[in-house]
Symmetry: C2
Subunit: 494 residues, 2 copies
C-alpha cells in the first residue's frame, strides 16, 4: 500500500519529523484506523524517495509515542489503543449535509426523479413464504456446470481480461442467439443485429438513451413495468398510458400524433399476463408506421411458456424495421448473471452500439465466455427444458391450491412465466388489507402498488389485484401459503 504522505525538502523541518507528523495526522483522523498495517520501512522509503533509515527512525519515534506497534516477523501496525492526545478532534470532516448548505452554495440539483425500490427485495422479517415477484428457482443457476465451464474458460483468460473487448459482446454468443431466435421466436436476424446488454433494465435504458429526449412521447401499457417508466422519465420523456384489457394493449386507444417509442410486452403482458392477439399486433405495427414510432418488444417470459405455441413476435411480423426485441438470460440463469440481449433493425446497429459503448464499454468477459460455452454445447437448452418442467409443476400446484382454497379469486397470466395476476371479487377485503392479513400469517403477497407494476390507476379498481411470484417456491410452500392466504381472506370478513 502506498501511503498518502508528502514530504517537502525545502520546508526546514527534517524529513523524519515530517513523516512522524503526517503519520500521526493519518492515525488521528482515522484515515489509518487502529490495527491496520503500515508499509515496511523499505517500501515507504522507496515511495518517498528517502533512505530506509529515515523511515526506520520515524517509525521508532511513533512506536515510542504509542502510535505504532511492531510485531517481530509480522510487521508494523497502528496501535489498537492510540494515546489520548491523538484523539483530540482533527480538522472536522465534511459534515453529513442536508439540502441547506447546498442551496446556499447553489450546487445544481441532482436527479430528483423516482427511484427503483423494485427488484432488490429481501424478504421482510416475519414472512416465511414469500410470493414476491422476480426471484428465480435456486436451480436456475446451474452451479456445478458453471463451475466446470468457468474453470475451462479461465485457461487463457489472461489475454482476454487484459484488453477491452468488443462492446457488443462476444461474436460467437451473438451468433448463437441469432440462431436460437429463428426456430424459437420466428426471428430472422444476423449476428450483427444482436447486441449483448446487462439485462432488461440496461436494454430499456439503451432504448431510452437512443430515443427519449426531454418532452419526447413514450407510450406505455397501463398497467406496466415501473422500472421502464422511471427510466423514460429520467430522460425527460412524457409517458402516455394506453389501457390494457384482457387481450393486452387496447390498440384502438393509441394516441394520435408523434410518438417516439412504445414499450410493449405482447407475449405475456406485465403485470396482467394477457397475450396480444395477432390482429392487434398487426394493428400496432401499422399504427407505428403512421406515428413514426419504434416499438420496444420486451419478451421477458419467452423461455417459460407452458401451453401451446407463442404467437409471432412483433419483430417477426415487422416489415418496416421499427421493432427492437429485448430478452434476458435473467429468467433462465438467475438475475445475478446480468446478461441479456437486444435485436435491433439494421439501421440501428451503429447507433445502438455507440450508446452501448458510451454506457459501459461492454460486458465483463468471463461470464460472457462461460455463457457462450453453455449455449454452444446445448447445456442451456437442456437447462431451460428442466427448469420449465419445475416451473410447470409449481404453477400447477398454485393453480390447484387457488381453485381449492380461493375459488372466488380470478386468475390470469398462467400460460407462461413465473407469476400470476389475481383479481379479488368485489365484496371481499381489498388487496392492501389482504397483504396485511397474510403478513400476520407469515405469508407475503403483493398488491400492485407494492410491486414493480406502474400506471395502475387506469384499472377499474387497482386495489383488487395482486401479483404472486411462485418460481422460487416449492409445491409444499405454495400449498401452505395459499391455505394461509385463504384463512386470511376468510378471517378478515369484509
Amino acid at each position: 500500500m502506498q501511503l498518502y504522505l508528502s514530504l517537502d525538502p525545502q520546508s526546514g523541518v527534517t524529513l523524519q519529523a515530517q513523516i512522524v507528523a503526517q503519520m500521526r495526522a493519518l492515525i488521528a483522523t482515522r484515515r489509518l484506523p487502529p490495527g491496520s498495517p503500515v508499509p515496511t520501512t523499505r517500501e515507504l522509503g522507496r515511495q518517498l524517495g528517502v533512505s530506509r533509515n529515515t523511515v526506520s527512525a520515524a517509525y521508532d519515534q511513533l512506536v515510542s509515542q504509542g502510535y505504532l506497534v511492531t510485531e517481530r516477523t509480522v510487521g508494523t501496525f497502528v496501535c489498537s489503543t492510540v494515546p489520548e492526545e491523538a484523539m483530540r478532534p482533527a480538522a472536522p470532516p465534511p459534515a453529513p449535509h442536508g439540502g441547506g448548505l447546498y442551496t446556499a452554495l447553489d450546487l445544481p440539483l441532482p436527479y430528483t426523479g423516482r427511484g427503483l425500490p423494485g427488484l432488490h427485495r429481501p424478504t421482510p422479517s416475519g414472512i416465511e413464504i414469500d410470493f414476491v415477484f422476480g426471484r428465480s428457482a435456486l436451480q436456475s443457476f446451474p452451479e456445478k456446470t458453471w463451475r466446470r465451464i468457468l474453470a475451462d474458460r479461465l485457461g487463457g483468460a489472461m489475454e482476454r481480461m487484459s484488453e477491452y473487448a468488443h462492446p457488443a459482446g462476444i461474436a460467437e454468443l451473438r451468433q448463437l442467439i441469432a440462431s436460437h431466435l429463428g426456430p424459437a421466436r420466428g426471428i430472422v436476424c444476423a449476428a450483427e443485429q444482436v447486441l449483448l446488454v446487462a439485462g432488461f433494465q440496461q436494454g430499456i435504458n439503451l432504448a431510452a438513451h437512443l430515443f427519449v429526449a426531454p418532452g419526447a412521447t413514450v407510450v406505455m401499457e397501463a398497467p406496466s413495468y415501473r422500472g421502464a417508466a422511471f427510466v423514460f422519465e429520467s430522460y425527460g420523456g412524457r409517458i402516455v398510458p394506453v389501457p390494457v384489457d384482457a387481450h393486452g394493449i387496447d390498440v384502438g386507444r393509441l394516441p394520435e400524433g408523434r410518438v417516439k417509442l412504445v414499450y410493449v410486452t405482447p407475449s405475456h403482458q406485465f403485470p396482467t399476463g394477457a397475450t396480444l392477439p395477432l390482429h392487434r399486433r398487426l394493428a400496432l405495427l401499422e399504427w407505428a408506421a403512421r406515428a413514426g414510432a419504434y416499438l420496444l418488444e420486451v419478451d421477458y417470459d419467452a423461455d417459460f411458456r407452458y401451453e401451446g405455441s407463442p404467437l409471432p413476435s412483433l419483430q417477426s411480423l415487422d416489415r418496416n424495421g421499427c421493432v427492437i426485441y429485448l430478452n434476458s438470460f435473467s429468467r433462465s440463469l438467475g438475475p445475478g448473471l446480468r446478461i441479456g440481449y437486444m435485436v435491433v433493425p439494421r439501421q440501428l446497429i451503429r447507433p445502438a452500439l455507440t450508446i452501448k459503448s458510451l454506457m459501459d464499454n461492454g460486458l465483463p468477459w468471463l461470464e460472457q465466455a462461460a455463457l457462450t460455452q453453455f449455449v454452444r454445447d446445448g447445456s442451456w437448452e437442456t437447462h431451460v427444458r428442466r427448469l420449465r418442467h419445475t416451473y410447470l409443476l409449481r404453477r400447477d400446484a398454485l393453480l390447484d391450491a387457488l381453485r381449492r382454497d380461493l375459488p372466488q379469486v380470478s386468475v390470469s397470466g398462467a400460460e407462461a412465466g413465473t407469476h400470476l395476476y389475481l383479481t379479488l371479487p368485489s365484496g371481499t377485503i381489498g388487496a392492501a388489507r389482504l397483504q396485511a392479513e397474510c403478513h400476520a400469517r407469515g405469508v407475503g403477497v403483493y398488491p400492485l402498488d407494492d410491486s414493480p407494476a406502474w400506471l395502475c390507476e387506469h384499472l377499474d379498481d387497482p386495489d383488487r389485484h395482486l401479483l404472486l411470484g411462485y418460481g422460487h417456491l416449492n409445491e409444499a410452500q405454495i400449498r401452505e401459503g395459499i391455505a394461509r392466504c385463504a384463512a386470511a381472506l376468510g378471517g378478515a370478513g369484509r
Copy 2:
C-alpha cells in the same frame, strides 16, 4: 426447444397438414437451418396440445418429402440438402435499409452523436509491437488465484444468483474500498458513499445522467478523454474546454457563469500526464463553489505511481461536498473485469443509487463476490505491488530507450500510469507521418487524433504529440520498438 408453430383447430385444414406446412415454411426461410435438430414428437405434441401420433405422421410426411431426416436413437434433423422447391424465395425479409425508406416512414432519427472507436482496438495487421493505450500486462489478471476464489465463491452461489442484489454492490466490498481509500488517498468516507459501477465509462455515464440535461455546461480539460466528451454530448451537454498546461488544467481560464459539472484528472492528467499542484486544486474547489459545479475527479492511475507520494485528492480537500471520486479495478485487474467505484458526497447517495438501479439494476454477482474475497484476504494489495514493480521496470526500459534513441523527443507523464506523452521537436516529421513510418516497420505508435484523446485542437501543435502505452509490452519489445521508431524518425527526413 419450443418451435414457433401455431395451429388453428377452426381452420378446416387438418392439424397434421398445418404442422407440415408450417415446418416447411420454417425450413424454407431458414428459421430452421439445415442440420438443426427438431423437437421429439412427444415434446412437440405437448407444446401444441395435439397427440403424439399427429406429430409423428407429420414428421413422416416431412421425411418423405426430404425436409427432415431421422437418425435412429439420435433424433430428427432438418435435412442438410433441402429439396429444390423449398429453396424458392420466401416472403422477402426486411431489406438492409439505408436512410431512404425510414425517412419516407418518418421514423425518428436515433442518436446521431459520436461513437467510441476508442478502447477496443485489436492490433492492426503488420504491427508486431503495438504501443497502444489501454491494454494491461497479461499478469494484470491473476488467473490462478481467480480460479481458486471463483471455485470457493461458487459454493452457495445458487442463492445469490437467483435474486436481484443491492444495486450499489456487495456491502462488504464497499466497506473494503472505503477502508482502502483512507490511507491510500486521504479520503474519509463511509461505505454507503461507495457505489460500485461497471468501470470508468459507466461512472462517467452515471454522473452525466445525474447532471447533464440538454444545454448544460460541462467543463473539460483540453485535451481530455474522448469517451467522456462523447457521453456528455450524448445527453445534450455543451462542452467548454479549458486548456491544460504543464501543470494541468489552467484554473485561471475557468469560465464565468453557471457550470454543471467539471471532468478533471488531477493526479495524472489524461493525456498529458501533468500533475495538478496543490494551489490549483484549492483554486478549482473555490471556483466550483462559486460556479455551483460538481467536480468529477477521475483518478485512473492512482494505483500505479512510481515516484513520491500523490498530492491530496480533490475529494480529500473538499469541504463543500462537491467532489465525486471515480476509480476502477480495470487498471489493476484488466479491463475485462468491468468493476469500478465512485465515492459520492452524502447528499448524492440516493440520487446516484437511483440512477445506477435505473441503468442496470447493479453489477453481476459472482465476480463482485470474487473481488471481495480477493481484496479482503490481501491478495489485491500484493497483486498491485507486484504489478507496479513490473510496470516500473517497463517504464524505465522505455525511458532509457527514449533517452538513448530519441533524445530530441520530450517526455511527460512518467511518474505514474502505463503510458507516456511524447512531444516531437519542431523540425522533424509530424506525429501522423511518424505513425505511418513506424507502421511500415511493424511498430504501432499513436498521434493524439488516433487515440482516446479529445479536444486536442487547443494544443499549440496537435500533430507533434504521441501517446505510447507500454503496460502490456515487455522490456525487449519496448527497446526494439523504440529502436525502430528512431529509425523511422531518422529515415523519414523532415
